[in-house]
């Protein structure tokens, strides 16, 4: 009789996979403990919601059809006829928003802890790129249900770059697949959402996590560490998993109690309905565009807002190279105050947009 010894199988794998080296690294890695340690969980939470997105997204792809004639109908089918379809879609939509929320918190905490200082500049840059990719996921995914809100959000979103001098019109045509929103836009957004952005995200997440393992977790400038830091494996990982479990239960609860809705089907001839607004993470830009006058001095107001936001994004990427104080492990109050003012502006504009 053919008999396999368990120890032999384990040994076979140990000889062929670098398990021992990996375990040695994981058990030797320490996570510092101090009064700001709680913020460390938000990076892991973002990763958790991304995993949820991948799983639920693949499931939705089984039924979703990316054409204007069938997109809305297929979402209705998923929600009303496929068993647990409503829950899968609701989980996907809620997790998308929670992922963006935790990513913002993670980025803000890294900013205020000055964790972007050397040698972690590449971690910061990859993180900001991931923020861009995640916002791209939000934008491309929003059109897919092909309902009224989705249609107008994409109409506005793809029109925004048009005011950028020289390249604006080309960017708009590139995003839409033509001059108007239509089937070409839907297939473009779909392929970006399910192929291009996931591949790019996997690549950058891989780099981000590798750097995280390589350099370890940063301690904020001039923060006193408690003597007993935590071993990454298994202690910190188990704590992380406990937070993931809480997040999973919270996600399922909101997805079930407040199932994600679907508006009326998009109609390209129907005038924009009253009170139309994009998703919450685009509200600061939306509200700024709404209140800015058509002309500021000699400049087009809309183009100026776009250029300022674009410049803000570039500044965010190059932050580690601007903040010279952090290189010497000193607190930079000026950068923190500027960051705080921008944060208050963004939150204020979001609240203003909701109340407007």
């Amino acid at each position: 009789m053919f008999y396999i010894n368990r120890a032999t199988v384990v040994e076979w794998f140990r000889n062929r996979l670098p398990v021992d080296t990996l375990m040695e690294h994981l058990t030797s890695k320490q996570v510092p403990r101090h009064r700001h340690s709680i913020w460390y969980y938000f990076g892991g939470l973002t990763l958790f919601f991304f995993i949820v997105q991948v799983i639920t997204g693949i499931l939705l792809m089984f039924y979703y059809r990316p054409t204007p004639d069938h997109a809305y109908e297929s979402i209705l089918f998923i929600m009303n006829e496929v068993r647990y379809g409503w829950l899968i879609r609701s989980t996907h939509s809620w997790a998308a928003n929670l992922m963006i929320g935790t990513l913002f918190i993670h980025l803000i905490s890294v900013f205020f802890m000055q964790a972007y200082r050397p040698p972690r500049e590449m971690m910061w840059i990859s993180g900001v790129v991931l923020l861009g990719l995640v916002l791209g996921f939000g934008f491309t995914g929003y059109l897919l249900p092909w309902d009224e809100m989705a249609f107008y959000a994409t109409q506005i979103g793809t029109e925004i770059p048009k005011s950028i001098p020289i390249v604006g019109e080309s960017i708009m045509v590139l995003l839409r697949g033509g001059q108007e929103i239509g089937s070409a836009t839907l297939t473009r957004m779909y392929s970006l959402h399910v192929v291009v952005l996931p591949l790019a995200t996997l690549l950058i997440v891989g780099l981000h996590l590798f750097l995280n393992q390589y350099y370890g977790v940063s301690t904020p400038v001039k923060t006193t560490k408690r003597k007993n830091s935590i071993q990454f494996f298994p202690n910190y990982m188990l704590r992380d998993l406990r937070v993931w479990l809480i997040a999973f239960l919270a996600l399922l609860s909101v997805a079930m109690i407040y199932p994600w809705g679907l508006g009326e089907e998009a109609d390209i001839l129907k005038p924009a309905p009253e009170g139309i607004k994009p998703e919450w993470y685009f509200l600061p830009l939306y509200q700024t565009l709404k209140i800015v006058p058509p002309r500021i001095w000699y400049f087009d107001g809309e183009a100026l807002v776009n250029i300022v936001f674009l410049f803000g994004g570039i500044l965010l990427i190059v932050l580690p190279f601007i903040d010279r104080r952090s290189r010497n492990k000193e607190r930079n109050i000026f950068i923190k105050v500027v960051g705080l003012i921008i944060l208050i502006y963004l939150i204020g504009m979001t609240i203003f947009a909701y109340m407007d």
Partner: protein
């Protein structure tokens, strides 16, 4: 005196140069591929008879791929504009009670001549030629 590069170095340089030169048309083709070819609609569309055009009303119709707003003024004169707001492209509507054109997305208001009067839009709506022939009202591409 500078050392003469050996055969391997020269071959490597040729290979790199060849790869660089080849990559230019490949990348250029990919970029050209993802930009869709321009397919501008040229033509006209009958939108109704003169009798059907009720004064002080507006409706949005499709001309090619784009929406066009056709308004019959209080005097019964039909006029047409591209229905996309010149601010961020939402489809506008005619407000009978005020006799103006309104975009609900950011609150831009245009007068009956298509000129912006309030809100963030700074450019006028694009005028679409309108024709009346044998009692038929039609719009055409500019």
């Amino acid at each position: 005196m500078q050392k003469k590069p050996d055969r391997r170095t020269v071959l490597n340089r040729i290979l790199y140069l060849w790869a660089a030169v080849t990559s230019v048309p490949i990348i250029s083709s990919i970029i050209r591929f993802i930009f869709p070819p321009a397919r501008a609609f040229v033509g006209s569309k009958v939108i109704g008879t003169v009798d059907e055009m009720q004064p002080n009303t507006g409706k949005v119709v499709q001309l090619g791929e784009r929406p066009v707003i056709v308004i019959t003024t209080k005097d019964g004169e039909p006029i047409a504009y591209g229905a996309n707001c010149t601010h961020l492209g939402c489809v506008v509507r005619y407000r009978e009670e005020r006799g103006d054109i309104y975009c609900a997305c950011h609150g831009s208001v245009f007068n009956i001549e298509g000129q912006p009067v309030s809100g963030p839009a700074s450019r006028p709506l694009e005028e679409i030629p309108i024709k009346i022939e044998n009692d038929q009202v039609s719009i055409t591409t500019a």
